[in-house]
């Protein structure tokens, strides 16, 4: 899908083409190596002895190589419980966002009603509002409703859509020819039937994009769990990682070992769904 853009003028000879390609690939390899350094550094640190974390000269290859960091990091905290909590929150939110956003975006793309554009712009405007501004009022609402220390504030809002995803899906719906709706309607389909029988299968790639973004946001969310959860049994992975960071000392090797494992699902997901992820950025012009 993604090929290196090669700028050509006239009819270049084979050597010239080869030269361009060499330059392009070298640049790409150097670029990706640079952006991979933090990740490799994290992996390296996760196997190091604490004494070598900040060793001088910098130790690239851990020596001694300590697999035990992983075992220790995981025995220090109840990671099974944290993983279960994170998976539960992520799965419910992902599901909620998929159904609510698909439905709302369908309305914006296909229904004609007065005030639609005003509504749509209002929706987009909510994207401009930083989460920090609404954090305290929203916290107040949830705690008044009695949902402090439950997963509700972290999951229920996703059943009410999210501006960015609605925008993304609406753009995708617009690319589906309107004739498909008309054909279905002639065959006697209701509006909702058109939605899930005709359009939903068409926007699957966009839904996949949404799923990946949503998974990432929920999996990595730190502030939400921090302010809404208090019982240790309800902690999420992102919150659990902070336990390695103390007031005066940080267990870098354990922190990095745990981080590496927590990152794994994201990494796998990105490798499998890279196509959709990049597509999402291209369609919406917005990075999630």
């Amino acid at each position: 899908m993604s090929k290196v853009a090669v700028i050509k003028k006239g009819r270049p000879g084979a050597t010239q083409k080869k030269m361009w390609r060499t330059i392009a690939y070298t640049t790409l390899i150097v670029g990706s190596a640079v952006s991979l350094i933090p990740f490799l550094w994290m992996l390296g640190t996760s196997f190091k002895d604490p004494a070598n974390v900040f060793a001088d000269p910098i130790q690239v290859w851990p020596n001694p190589w300590l697999w035990s960091n992983y075992a220790k990091a995981f025995s220090k905290l109840p990671f099974a419980q944290y993983t279960f909590n994170t998976c539960l929150i992520t799965a419910i939110s992902m599901f909620g966002q998929m159904i609510s956003c698909a439905l709302v975006a369908f309305g914006f793309a296909r229904m004609r009603f007065p005030g639609r554009n005003v509504l749509f712009v209002t929706l987009l405007a909510t994207m401009m509002l930083p989460a920090q501004v609404t954090m305290i009022p929203v916290f107040k609402i949830w705690s008044t409703l009695g949902f402090y220390d439950t997963f509700v504030p972290l999951t229920l809002p996703s059943f009410f859509g999210s501006a960015f995803f609605i925008f993304l899906l609406r753009q995708y719906y617009m690319t589906v020819p309107y004739e498909m709706d008309e054909a279905a309607r002639i065959d006697g389909a209701s509006t909702l039937q058109i939605f899930y029988k005709v359009l939903l299968p068409q926007i699957k790639p966009a839904l996949a994009t949404l799923a990946i973004f949503s998974f990432m946001n929920n999996w990595n969310d730190f502030l939400g769990p921090l302010i809404y959860l208090s019982s240790p049994a309800k902690r999420t992975l992102a919150l659990g990682l902070y336990a390695f960071q103390g007031q005066y000392a940080t267990d870098w090797n354990y922190l990095m070992a745990a981080s590496a494992v927590v990152m794994m699902p994201l990494l796998i997901l990105f490798f499998c769904g890279q196509k959709y992820f990049i597509q999402g950025v291209v369609i919406s012009g917005v990075k999630g």
């Binding site: 604490p50 004494a51 900040f54 060793a55 001088d56 000269p57 910098i58 220090k76 905290l77 419910i92 599901f95 909620g96 159904i99 954090m135 305290i136 916290f139 107040k140 705690s143 008044t144 009695g146 949902f147 402090y148 220390d149 439950t150 997963f151 509700v152 999951t155 229920l156 059943f159 909702l192 899930y196 921090l226 302010i227 208090s230 019982s231 240790p232 919150l239 902070y242 336990a243 960071q245 103390g246 007031q247 005066y248 000392a249």
Partner: protein
């Protein structure tokens, strides 16, 4: 129609399940539940739970819900939950958060409770009560642990060069003299690879030791202003920078970059380092394996002997609905049993004199042996300046002083540059 119904059904089920999980909190008649917030690693958390269990056993009418938050984000959580109207009933507070929290009026004054119950506040080190317990003349927190600084030194290195160990007779001159003797190029390659000392994590101590102050009243208006532009203040800071740039007895940022100065000390390349009482337990216990070390009082500056003093405390939140029960818990958490346990578990210095001077702390069988030096330093403890904007102020000054430490400007230039910024911050504090 089937898929739609299925989808809605699953959604309803999921939401319903969550409501159910949230809804079933245990309620027993005659038992008051209070919420207690703290931070801590796994070891501290276990010990905290044991102590709370003991408290519940002794006070069967009180049930305590424990909320553990990572230290790094505890202040955020406390501020957000307070603003959102749902703070805990009792919280542990780190001394550096005290000014902003106290200034916002989030804490219940405890004077009446103390008087009524005849609580033995006299047993506490006054430096801790005054440092992070009292705000505008009222007691808002009961301090529980103390973090104090002293000078750790590498005994083997002193023995090797036949130098006397540091003691309370030392002043800055003696300190510098010995530091110079320990700063050497041990392998003869023309590059210094052993240093006499290193800068500590603070800069405030150098100001105070030289008789300076960070903030003080404006003689004309009486308003609080930055006083770092006074010679006593910046000359103290100049001594700090000179340790690196003029005398070269402390590694430069570049020399320490890859390892951090703490690591240079634990790997035996630094003779003396001023560090916290916490360092022995959290760092040195695991990292110092090749030499013997001990602590001594911090050398006296031209005017004063100074250590920065920090710590933690317990407080009752003003919005608590169960203040009596909360106060009971504060009393327990600042009591002798708690402090004895903390000292024996992780060498934490108790804020109660009676516990600190008992075998529970002084009699610990762990390095450093001369832990009396920490208790001796408490009387010279200087806390965080009591202004609500203390964290921001420290940050502004800190970043300017980085340039001073690098030798890019003198302490006088740095302090004169930073004064207007700090003054502006002080004028607009809430």
């Amino acid at each position: 129609m089937k898929p739609r119904i299925l989808i809605l059904f699953i959604a309803a089920l999921a939401v319903g399940a969550m409501l159910l999980v949230g809804g079933c909190a245990k309620r027993q008649p005659g038992v008051t539940t209070i919420r207690f917030a703290s931070w801590g690693n796994d070891v501290e958390e276990q010990s905290l739970r044991a102590l709370i269990a003991e408290f519940e056993k002794r006070n069967p009418h009180i049930r305590v819900e424990i909320e553990i938050t990572p230290w790094a984000r505890m202040l955020d959580k406390l501020m957000i939950s307070s603003a959102g109207g749902r703070p805990p009933d009792v919280t542990r507070i780190s001394s550096e958060w005290f000014p902003p929290i106290a200034a916002k009026g989030l804490l219940e004054p405890l004077d009446d409770y103390i008087e009524r119950d005849n609580y033995d506040l006299d047993d506490f080190y006054p430096e801790s009560i005054e440092g992070w317990g009292v705000w505008n003349g009222r007691v808002l927190e009961i301090p529980t642990d103390i973090d104090i600084y002293a000078m750790y030194y590498n005994k083997d290195m002193f023995d090797k060069y036949k130098l006397p160990y540091p003691d309370e007779t030392w002043d800055w001159d003696k300190y510098l003299e010995v530091a110079k003797k320990l700063t050497l190029d041990t392998n003869g390659d023309g590059v210094i690879d052993q240093w006499g000392t290193t800068l500590d994590m603070w800069w405030q101590d150098y100001v105070y030791a030289n008789g300076g102050t960070i903030i003080g009243p404006d003689p004309a208006t009486g308003d609080v202003q930055c006083t770092l532009d006074q010679p006593a203040a910046y000359n103290g800071l100049q001594f700090m920078a000179d340790l690196i740039n003029k005398y070269h007895v402390s590694p430069t940022a570049e020399e320490a970059a890859n390892q951090g100065t703490s690591k240079l000390f634990t790997s035996g390349k630094i003779g003396m380092t001023i560090s916290g009482s916490w360092a022995a337990e959290l760092i040195y216990k695991n990292e110092i394996t090749t030499f013997k070390y001990d602590v001594a009082p911090i050398p006296k500056g031209p005017k004063e002997r100074v250590s920065i003093i920090c710590g933690a405390a317990y407080a009752v939140l003003k919005r608590s609905q169960h203040k009596e029960e909360a106060w009971e818990l504060v009393k327990w958490m600042t009591g002798k049993e708690y402090q004895r346990a903390a000292a024996m578990r992780s060498q934490i210095i108790p804020s109660r004199r009676s516990v600190a001077e008992s075998g529970a702390y002084l009699g610990l069988d762990a390095d450093p042996k001369n832990r009396q030096a920490f208790l001796y330093m408490i009387q010279f403890g200087k806390p965080v300046p009591p202004v609500s904007c203390a964290p921001e102020m420290t940050q502004i000054i800190q970043s300017e002083l980085d340039l001073v430490r690098l030798g890019r400007e003198t302490a006088e230039e740095g302090c004169k540059k930073v004064k207007p910024k700090v003054d502006q911050l002080l004028r607009h504090r809430d």
